[in-house]
């Protein structure tokens, strides 16, 4: 598996045969805290890549940097060969890299269908002048609505399409957010903890949908902090800890990597502190 995707052994920063996203020397500091410090990273095309790491590892910050929602202190990255550093977030989305959020951002007082339609690109009626003349955008709107309804059916939200998004359950909102992101017709989907706060039954269906993205030829990068959740669906796993990439490789290989176990459990988890020592210390 490793040599199908990577050009060399599974070490942090290994070059891929066909990377879609290439990151170089990205660094972000909040005061004295180095939140992200990634030297080199390549995300493979057409694969599901999981970005895992303990809480506070800098995964979400890294995500925000890549998608233009935050700007790094230094560094650059390219998406499909195009330089993406310094590009504002809305242009990143237009270029085909769409993201979702850890805390779901459904647009509560818009209907589910309107949420979906908002994801569509190239609707001329979104210009204030064209908005005044319905014939200029009615045809696009019809096509957009058809696509939205198809996606809603796929995500089993079709019965809700007229309801306010606020009336959906937490899990359904995650589904809506993912479906809405697909309305932008992306080449790469970035999912920030798609499984957080979702009940186990819905988690399975969410995982299925993530797999579906890959089947459609999209590249997926998703953040998750539960290692076991990602094992089944990801082709490649990247592990972050304290802002750095500490390991990457195929899931089974990465799970056994001592650096990963250290990152999750702390470097001294297997050295015996000794009950006596602790008792005396007190």
């Amino acid at each position: 598996m490793a040599n199908e995707i990577a050009k060399g052994p599974s070490v942090p920063g290994v070059a891929k045969h066909d990377p879609i996203l290439v990151v170089d020397n990205v660094r972000k500091q909040f005061g004295g805290l180095v939140a992200v410090d990634v030297e080199h990273l390549e995300i493979p095309r057409g694969m599901i890549t999981a970005l895992i790491g303990p809480n506070g590892a800098g995964k979400t910050t890294f995500f925000n940097l890549l998608t233009g929602f935050d700007s790094p202190d230094s560094g650059s990255w390219t998406f499909d060969g195009v330089k993406l550093s310094g590009v504002p977030s809305y242009k990143v989305a237009r270029m085909g890299m769409v993201r979702t959020f850890q805390l779901t951002k459904s647009l509560n007082l818009l209907s589910v269908l309107e949420n979906m339609r908002l994801g569509a690109q190239k609707q001329p009626g979104e210009s204030i002048w064209a908005a005044l003349f319905k014939p200029l955008w009615a045809k696009n709107e019809k096509a957009i609505t058809e696509r939205a309804e198809e996606l809603l059916t796929r995500f089993k939200l079709d019965t809700k399409s007229g309801d306010f998004a606020a009336s959906l359950s937490g899990g359904q909102r995650k589904l809506l957010e993912m479906a809405r992101a697909l309305m932008t017709q992306p080449r790469m989907v970035m999912l920030d903890e798609p499984m957080a706060g979702v009940n186990p039954a819905l988690t399975q269906s969410l995982l299925e949908h993530v797999r579906g993205l890959k089947d459609e030829g999209m590249s997926v990068l998703f953040v998750e902090h539960d290692m076991h959740m990602v094992r089944n669906i990801s082709d490649w796993v990247i592990v972050m800890a304290e802002g750095k990439v500490v390991a990457e490789g195929p899931p089974n290989e990465v799970m056994k990597n001592p650096a990963v176990i250290d990152a999750y459990l702390g470097a001294h988890h297997d050295s015996d502190l000794g009950a006596d020592k602790i008792a005396k210390g007190n």
């Binding site: 998608t67 809305y90 959020f101 951002k105 007082l109 818009l110 009626g125 908005a131 319905k134």
Partner: protein, 324 residues
Amino acid sequence: MDLIFSNAVNALFDPMTAAYAIAAIGIALHFGFTGLLNFGQASFMAVGAYGFAIATISFHLPFWGAVAVSLGLSALLAFLLGIPTLRLRSDYLAIVTIAASEMLRYVVSTTSAQPLTGGPQGLNNYSTEFYGLNPIPAGTYGFWNFTYSERDVFIRVVSWSLVIVFAILLAILVRSPWGRVIKGIREDEDAVRSLGKNVYAYKMQSLIVGGLMGTIAGILFVIPRSVQPGNYGTQLTFFLWTMLLLGGASTVIGSVIGAMIFWGLLSLSDDLLRAGVDNGVITFLTNDQVGTIRFMIVGLGLMLLVIFRPQGIFGNKKELQFNG
């Protein structure tokens, strides 16, 4: 008694009510649909009033030229206010707009600006050309307590036609894909940004368009009267907000009906109280106090409205169930 009610009915259809309605439609676009807290709609009205009057008096521009100048200045004001604030959280726009509107009021009322703005005295004699456009022959029109001169009829027809035009314009805009984007921004601008929309540009467009409505309202407001700097204080802005919330912020017709109810009630309560005082029915008030009491009554009405119907008269109750 007849006179009291006909006064109130007159207030409902007064050109001033129309001007307030148009300015309130502007903040409906800002707040109700885009989520922008514009607490400086008075400044957009002031730009309309002063821009129009100064262009006419000092620069001798024709009517349409003066209107164009005020609209240009209004767009410029919106642009200047928007550049630093629209990237920030919505509270900053509120602070900047209220401060800018007070600054503008102080600047135009200084004595050093007197040659241009009239200083504390304000301006008058700039409406001749507007009334020159009047196709209605001279005379008295109407019946009973509702009789108007040809000028009164003209300004009423023009201002209420404009109310209808702007209400329709707002309705078209908010039902279009453009409206969907601004409503999305009201709900969560990061989500909209993540879907490839230039949020900053949309907020700027909304600020400018709503501001232009305020400016048109400002011109209409001063045509039948004089320009007085005292009119453009924070009270004006808060009256507009009251009308907006009265009718329902996220509605098209709410701001219009809100303005009519506001002025209708104000006139009605004023006349009723005065009649009560004059006839000795109300003994604990003097006529001087009535002018203040009526605002308290309107304030009380607004409190009751906010408690029992927080979405406004035309608002959708369902929308409030989700605001936790």
